[in-house]
Symmetry: D2
Subunit: 338 residues, 4 copies
């Protein structure tokens, strides 16, 4: 951390600042220029509140050099983390495909889709029970019953399941769920994150629509700081000025997040595109860019889906896509072996 | 709502669509062009799920004409709503100033500030007990104790209080709070909104950092659809590419939201600017643009505030600003009387 | 400027860097930490290319402390600049209103509007001759003939005129134009800016739709670096996710640009809003926030305007707005006198 | 195009509107609802100015169904366009790599890089002669001399060349240049686009930093409407809230632009990332998503490049990347053959 002081800081204020910095276990080094005094802070500055410094009268600017997250930071954990979900390990250069319908709608639907995506090669089943909808008048999901049906599908197929939590009060319903998803709109629901930190279940943390990599990693840090290291990062499209697609897939998030953090990074091409025929090119691009996994919406009858039908693949289209994913995954391994 | 069909829609699919539309209590009117069939929907379309239509094979596009919110819509409620908080009515062309510290830090602090802002003309006291912070290592607020201290300040000064809720589980602590604030990051915490809909307490609903007016009004609709009509909308700055200010105040939100909705609209210049010396020009601009109120951060010692000190006014600066607010409020009334 | 070096920089690379910095007339001061070496640069760093430093192998990060613009910087020119246009001085706490149609359409139209806005109190006439239109099929302006008609209106009313240049090749047509406008889409047309820098005519420089304050000031710097100090900054709305208004007026640009720069700042509420009935609240908010002027679209028959009719005021509405502008300008002066 | 009229439009205004629409060669079809009148326009609506309709008093809203571009529209030109550059055809499912330095710096530099990228498999040489720089104090390119050196490199290697034009006045210097690049900041420099429309040289048109697909295609339409059909679209990263990368590559632009238009689409991973080590994953993702080409910055000595060194590959790194590009291109063909 570098603190740039205003010209001619008062001596007592400067002394106070120096004592405070030392009390945080950090050492200040001062460069005295003619017009400017610069203070370099050496030590663990992750926990220093940058705002407290910025508001001091003698401070002109504060710049972070080190990232404000520690548990999620690759610098302190150079090897890829692998998050275990049932028999599958997510991360470390493998490719895991998660698939299933946007919403659980009926026992028949979820079991039909689960069997089909398993046969095509998916390793984990997704399905929404609690649905965050912009309108109070839209279908809100089957809720408790949706969780029950997902567990039926898990029993039937052996696939682990991932589903979204919307509020802390729902947590006890998730005891047999394998991966708890935190949706984009809850990425900064800090009370929820803290509580998930006390769990040991894998958390699939989706990036918010207008959040930065650092904010996503700070949210991962919330979970990790309270003890749960099983965090899977998920890029699902950000909001941009382009409205032709539902959101804009930030493909650079893959190399960027994997540079900044050791956590696995998966891509949701369905929500990113919002258009079924774009799911295939986006999936393949994510594989080529090095993603650890994909989470793809598949429906037995997209035109009648109770939500997100526009972006859902049919079961045969998903089977065809899985073949392409395998081809590009092989090409990626060939590239890595060069 | 207007549905544009693809060329040559199949007859049975078209009949199905028409029956479904009628089953929603809405009447379809069809225009048959040479290359295009257009269907105009007449009736209450607010509750029709636009996505369900978009995903149909015979549909090329669907465009909303009516807004998807009803309770919050000025079309169905032409007069300004006035939300009562203690003796103060917010809305309807009056100017209400809410003031207080970002965080409650101690009994002495909150009582000192409360007395001072009351003397300067503030009608409601603000203060954070639960603080949403990006970093798990930053000060998270005094929580329960913070609420207790706010109630002390209320008792001391008679000022009603507004403070932020971060999770449903905190709701019972808010029984004596006058206005419950929903922060920008929780604007789409739909479970929380629903529950507040079952309350009758005024809710101060802040616009999310990257949300549209319609999304804000849909969140208000969540609260209102469940029975609570006491919603105050708050613009507090949106995220843009400009980082010199903390956020970017969208001043057009005032005339826009007041055109679309009958709900009162207040402005938070402190979070919008993030810089104390911009709070005064932004406050005055909001008054001139027709805001119903302002919520301003004031601290007894900004340089030592535990958060947001950079954007807090000192108590004397707030007193000076109140004088200017009164001058511009008078000018606004003079303009309205022309 | 602060350079943070990587751990253990090679001695010869470090020596090279130090020599290069000194060759730029700047003095480096080095702080040696345990894990980090920080170099503070003291002197005139505005002309140092930050990218050249960032790409060096031994450099971890470079942070600017000083702004990269000099001529436009208030630090080196503490007093407000006043740009003279005819008898009017723009800047320094006065309020100048510029008004006229989006496009010049006919002699009768421009003279009718010019006389009317003059009678209402406008000091400068605006009107588009060259029109930047997204579609090649849309009306592109009367071009040369438009300039001729503007000069007729100037002769008739005595009002100085401002009109937009779209390409260097049009420059000779602007010899009798009083203020040359550079539109938002040309804010970074650097060849055009350089050439205007060799002129001594006032330039009204509009902020680009997605540009920062610093980028706007760097574009002003282009003009000023080549010798022309008569630059007027104009905020005309930025692109955000909100599409209800045409653009989003960044009202904070007023105090921010006036803090960073000594140049006058005017507001274009018409393009910002894109909706005629919002022009009045936005204009008043700009006055209250301290703008030096307004540029407002006024048309004799908005419903038949060849472009931008939706956002144009009628002549009587403009007359009514001018009365309000005067009331709020007086209130602003009263506030400043406190 | 669909026009939604206000309730109870006046008969004479409605008749005027109908006549005007017919005069544009388009047929209106009217649906009369109880509260709403909807008019569907059948015919070629691409040239109708939507703004002229929106500003009419009797019109509540206008929605486009057809795109406002025609020459660039795949609907009217279903087969992929292939733009010939020397012996290379860009488009139609092939993969063309363009490579070279950000700026031409010396004869030795450009010839060294040209020979090297040719040996690695690049088909076209890039290099900047006129450089758009945010700061007037930054290196502005070798200009005329840069063009001369590029032509030397072309003579030496036989590679066609692409370089950026910044202003119409430079056009005559481009007579022997093979592809004229229009940079992101000039995407809406309409006078320049018109003039390039009168040329028959291929134009590489870069998407602006905050522009939509439709705006990009409207800019292509400007060139095509004046007769030049040789337009290559280029996505080079858009501005988002994420600042860790220089820009954000919008990978969905590939399938989206190829759906909307028949023009070839290439990707610039260097400017998108701004970080050399991300160029490889982004390049491979673009190939997998179906791009027709890549334009990559390669420098003989990135650490000393006069601009953009941070994002330039070394010549050996480019050679290694070309091998990977070939592997993923083969995988893509295997997928397409399924």
């Amino acid at each position: 951390m570098v603190i740039i002081l205003k010209e001619n800081p008062g001596k007592s204020q400067l002394d106070n600042l120096i004592s405070w910095i030392k009390s945080q276990g950090v050492t200040p080094h001062i460069t005295q220029g003619i017009h400017q005094t610069i203070m370099g802070l050496v030590g663990d500055t992750a926990k220093i509140d940058i705002e407290l410094l910025q508001q001091l009268e003698i401070v002109a600017a504060v710049k972070r050099v080190q990232e404000p997250y520690k548990n999620a930071n690759r610098k302190f954990h150079p090897l890829d983390s692998i998050v275990k979900v049932g028999d599958t390990g997510i991360g470390g250069g493998t490719m895991t495909v998660i698939a299933g319908p946007c919403s659980v709608e009926s026992e028949e639907q979820i079991i039909t889709v689960a069997r089909s995506v398993k046969a095509s090669g998916a390793k984990i089943l997704r399905g929404g029970a609690f649905k965050p909808r912009t309108s109070p008048y839209a279908f809100q999901g089957l809720r408790d019953e949706g969780i029950r049906l997902l567990l039926e599908a898990k029993k039937d197929t052996g696939l682990p399941i991932v589903t979204e939590i919307m509020d802390l009060s729902q947590l006890e319903l998730f005891s047999e769920v394998d991966v708890i998803q935190v949706g984009a709109r809850n990425m900064q629901n800090f009370e929820l994150l803290k509580q998930l930190g006390h769990s040991n279940k894998p958390v699939l943390l989706k990036r918010g629509l207008a959040n930065t990599y650092q904010e996503l990693l700070m949210s991962a840090e919330y979970i990790m700081a309270f003890g749960n290291e099983n965090v899977i990062l998920c890029e699902r499209g950000i909001r941009t000025f382009e409205n032709y697609t539902r959101n804009t897939l930030d493909i650079s998030a893959i190399p960027a997040l994997k540079t900044l953090s050791h956590l696995p990074v998966i891509i949701d091409p369905s929500h990113a595109a919002g258009i079924a025929r774009f799911v295939s090119p986006l999936s393949l691009s994510a594989v080529a860019a090095g993603a650890d996994g994909l989470i793809i919406e598949v429906h037995n009858n997209p035109a009648c889906a109770r939500c997100d039908g526009m972006q859902s693949l049919t079961m045969p289209d998903f089977a065809a896509l899985m073949k392409k994913i395998n081809i590009v995954t092989n090409a990626r391994e060939e590239c890595n072996a060069l």
